[in-house]
Subunit: 470 residues, 3 copies
């Protein structure tokens, strides 16, 4: 990137044009029409959401409608859905003048991404070889939401510095990369990662950081007056934090095994997150002269425990094990905000608006390691013979795999997610550097007025008189 | 209305008196006491919420408590409940100085209406002929919330221009009308409308618009300074938007058939809404010179897809069919805000504060049409023999009805809901025009200070010194 | 308290030091480490969340995973979780400059308390005598959240006047006292109290009031400028109100009997709360010269019905009975804000920031009485023979207890909760009076700047220039 000639440099640094009146509608329309066509060709209801279910029931000797997977997973799905749209959206409203951008663009790219995710994940995981169709049910919706989460995490690194068109491009490639790495990790390596420490958080974190690195803005200080929060914007952000925090047990248990699998994942995540809050508060207070707390830490680091238990939540990590993971995650994540983020920015030139390195990338890696260790330490005495098989899915091609080998594959999976994040992010970042996407000038960063009408009046108002903000 | 003599005119245009210290408490008390008496006479627990359930189980050979309808519907009920109180309430907080009125009056009329709805719907749908009692369970609560939704939609048209007493009167008649049209559409015509495109949204929309027409205020420009949003009020409104958007799959599936019915309704609504977001963004961006997005559109039109799938969500409309419905609804609803709302106001003298014509009335009609077409196009090959019977409830008196006939009755149902909305609204509007309800003067519209104490102090504060709003 | 000598007085009234950089981290770290050790020694997964579940199923002839208690209680658990963190947290954001303190400290003490609650409740209720272990599942998590609720209620009385360290101490003792009184009421007296009118609300309310009495600040008027709300802070508080209101049916039904028990508790609470809203509005309007509504009442008194049905919700109180309870609670609670709170403050020197006397203590006592009467009035004709046994758990040692005796024990239970609240609060208050906890001076009360960094800037901002709050 830095080697291009003077002409190239001029091209890249010409006056920014944030008019997206052509590109944004075109991308939305073309994409949505493509989705309709592809869904028409590929996507069908699965046997539990199909009107033929009454026949399926008879055929499979299912005695009650309550055995439909819908009733096992729908409450968790709705919690995950809230995390994606309210959780991630409001978490990013902390900037004093980027709340519309945070909530609104989050809404846009999540809606955009989940459709593509259903297709990509379907092709890789559940394409029926006979019919050539993808059959979807409530678990597919959860997985699509998960996939989108990876891209929303990445958005956190570039919040306030990109255009909505760039976000759509980033999401398009992000979902694609996600589906591939997920296929490698879960299917080829047969690693377990129900809550996505590796697949979602590590990948999403490094993907966003790599993009932010490529899009480095040396003169970002020009928008300094916008780079802060006000009291109410921080309160809004707490809505995001709390819905993420409360529903994280649902996130980590949404696609785990019926019965004890979901039950245990909830208990572990609940405990781990509680522990994280205490150490986050402790470190945050230690970091200030008079022991004051910092909203940045409370809003973000309190969530690190949920990320770090994404892999191991369904394992028999035991309640105190969950507390230990949370204990260290709160410390590490908060220290990340205090020490590592400034380092990343000054030395590595990574401008990470929301600190996703501390909330997703690092805790994700921790989660991968915890998962590998917990898997390697599993034993028949703790899990029971059948419990071990069920938990690690030691069936079919993998029926002879030992827990030690499983631990190795878990670790391998984590490396795959890092590589996909870093390399994928670098490539996508280069694409986003093209000066055609309508990104804002340095002095307009963190101010969503560039992309949002600033005043809204009722129709029966005479528009000749302006009503300015406040 | 315009034909009354001078004396009559004077009577109607005399100085507005917004003192509701007598009327509001009287209406609340009288109403609540009436409810207690009527509940005492009519309402009882149904067999699934009665302590005799243990005997019912034995008698009906039910093996497990999990077969209680409670476990099929309670998670959806709670989502619907959130939509009614937080969704509708916060969606209307966008005005800079009407947030208390939006959330608070929404709270009041929903609580008021749901009790009356349980009785009205009970009398029409589930009055036991032998005992003369209405037996209620979780499905009754969902239906009561649905019924109230119709009135909250209507509130959107008159937001900021009416008194709480008017809202209570409007809700009283609204629930009554709702129960009758619902009885005609669902029982007599035997149309299907699980998510209420016709019964809830079309009716509620036209009911509100007709009332707003009758209450037309030619001098509304006098409150111009209040007719807009500020940054934080728009952010609050996004809370409403997102909870409505996320939980709409629960809304459309809450009372559909157990098993595949609920499962399919969720998938369809989820997909439809995602598609709506993209076309809403596209049209919103196209409507501005530089492609900026307008919060009005993002807050409202993104939801139109959920409305339009209210009837067809439980049908085998197929995933791509759901995307197509969402595609067009986003376009039509957003264009409604841009072109139709100003037209309605200038030409038809309908002042529609929240644009419910674009969010509920029009998409509701589309939903009715989509439902009729989808029903008429249903076939045994797609649904299966039993699936077809279950989905359209072709049993009893209706066991010989063909899908084509069903399509016709669906269309007839839509007409009924429009007629009830328009005629009912016109009549109720005339009642609300009486100068006894404490509605605000034109210059006090959209400012909830008329009905809400503006400052709140702790008890231990000396009240002699005022603390005014910032 | 008032008898100490001059030296003692000086000691207590010396310059306040709000530096908590040492105490807060130390308490958090020591506590969290203690939790890890105690969890390691005592806490294990129960048989439904253990990987041995597959064996349990076979052994107990359980045919389906859906019979796991997880699926009966998880949706209710998540609703309760939202009430604890978003409900209680945001309800207290109404003060203009204490939103961080409200949401943030609520978050801290809930996370802190629930771990201790799992241990305390485990030791008292479910310690396995053979293994010496506590086995936890989803019901344990609900109970832990319930236990924490008692302490969060108490926080409401001292909001804005204490340091986070004091809150942690208060929570530590609060949870301990809670577990003991709960053991006495539920196990020894064998009273029923599924929604905690007595155990949670009465105890928590009087605990907080007693503490506030001991910590009485005669010169609190010095922070007068902070003792009020602004428009947006009141809107934030409505988020808390509504999530509490909507999810209260889940609160009262979360741990009731499977099947009809949960079903009935939801119906009763839903109806009772609707009724409360109407009478709250009526009294609030009556209390102002022009009939204006007061946000304090709408935010708080509308919830009193849920509190008052905490004991009786699972009983056959009948739908109109629930409405009657709500009717009177709305009136009494609102009158409490108007008449009793000023009296408590002036005469009894109890400064009750959030008015928990009106929202929790009084309605809790009403709930205890309603529960006792409803229990005493129970009959086999209404409940059925087995229904009566199931509802009141007349098994084992209590199989010969009559409903009349049960009513007496219910009343005794209520007295126990009051005594524990008042005496416990007085003792804990004395501990909190020690001048080592970093509480704020009178003039700094209700301003969370004392404990929270007031500005937050991104890392890439030059910190030499301050960006002050608006």
């Amino acid at each position: 990137m830095g080697n291009c000639s003077q002409g190239c440099k001029d091209y890249f640094s010409r006056q920014k044009n944030t008019n997206i009146r052509l590109t944004l509608p075109v991308v939305c329309f073309v994409w949505q029409i493509a989705m309709i066509i592809l869904f028409g060709v590929f996507i069908r209801y699965d046997k539990e959401s199909n009107a033929h279910w009454v026949e399926t029931k008879a055929h499979d000797n299912i005695t009650s409608d309550i055995e439909n997977d819908f009733y096992f997973r729908y409450p968790s799905f709705q919690d995950v859905h809230v995390m994606i749209f309210v959780g991630f959206g409001f978490l990013m409203t902390f900037l004093k003048r980027y709340s519309f951008g945070a909530v609104g663009f989050n809404f846009l790219i999540a809606s955009f991404g989940l459709q593509w995710a259903l297709l990509m994940q379907g092709w890789f995981h559940s394409l029926d070889p006979q019919t050539g169709k993808i059959f979807i049910g409530v678990e597919s919706l959860i997985n699509a939401d998960f996939c989108v989460a990876g891209c929303l995490i990445a958005y956190g690194a570039v919040l306030g510095k990109v255009s909505p068109v760039q976000l759509l491009v980033m999401t398009l490639f992000g979902v694609t990369l996600f589906a591939v790495e997920e296929y490698i990790i879960l299917n080829l390596l047969h690693a377990r990662d129900a809550g996505g420490s590796m697949v979602i958080h590590t990948f999403g974190g490094y993907y966003g950081l790599a993009i932010s690195r490529v899009l480095y803005r040396p003169n970002l200080h020009q928008s300094k007056r916008m780079q802060g929060s006000v009291y109410h914007s921080d309160t809004f952000a707490m809505i995001g934090t709390l819905f993420l925090w409360m529903f994280w047990p649902s996130f980590n248990s949404a696609i785990t095994d019926h019965g004890d699998g979901q039950h245990r994942a909830v208990i572990n995540t609940y405990l781990c997150l509680a522990s994280t809050v205490l150490t986050t508060v402790a470190i945050s207070s230690l970091s200030q002269k008079t022991g004051k707390l910092d909203m940045v830490h409370i809003q973000n680091s309190t969530l690190a425990g949920g990320v770090a238990l994404g892999t191991a939540a369904e394992f028999m990590i035991s309640p105190y094990g969950a507390l230990i993971v949370g204990f260290f995650c709160g410390i590490i994540s908060t220290m990340g905000y205090i020490f590592i983020s400034p380092f990343l920015e000054k030395t590595l030139k990574i401008q990470d608006t929301c600190g996703i390195h501390n909330l997703h990338a690092m805790p994700g890696v921790i989660g991968g390691i915890v998962g590998a260790i917990t898997a390697a330490a599993a034993s028949e005495s703790v899990y029971g013979k059948q419990g071990l098989i069920n938990t690690f899915d030691f069936t079919g091609d993998f029926k002879d795999r030992t827990v030690l080998t499983q631990g190795g594959y878990q670790a391998a999976g984590m490396c795959v997610s890092i590589v996909f994040g870093v390399v994928g992010g670098a490539i996508v970042g280069s694409i986003l550097k093209l000066p055609i996407w309508g990104d804002p000038a340095d002095e307009n960063c963190f101010d969503d007025e560039v992309y949002w009408e600033s005043i809204k009046l009722l129709h029966y108002t005479d528009h000749t008189e302006d009503i300015s903000h406040k």
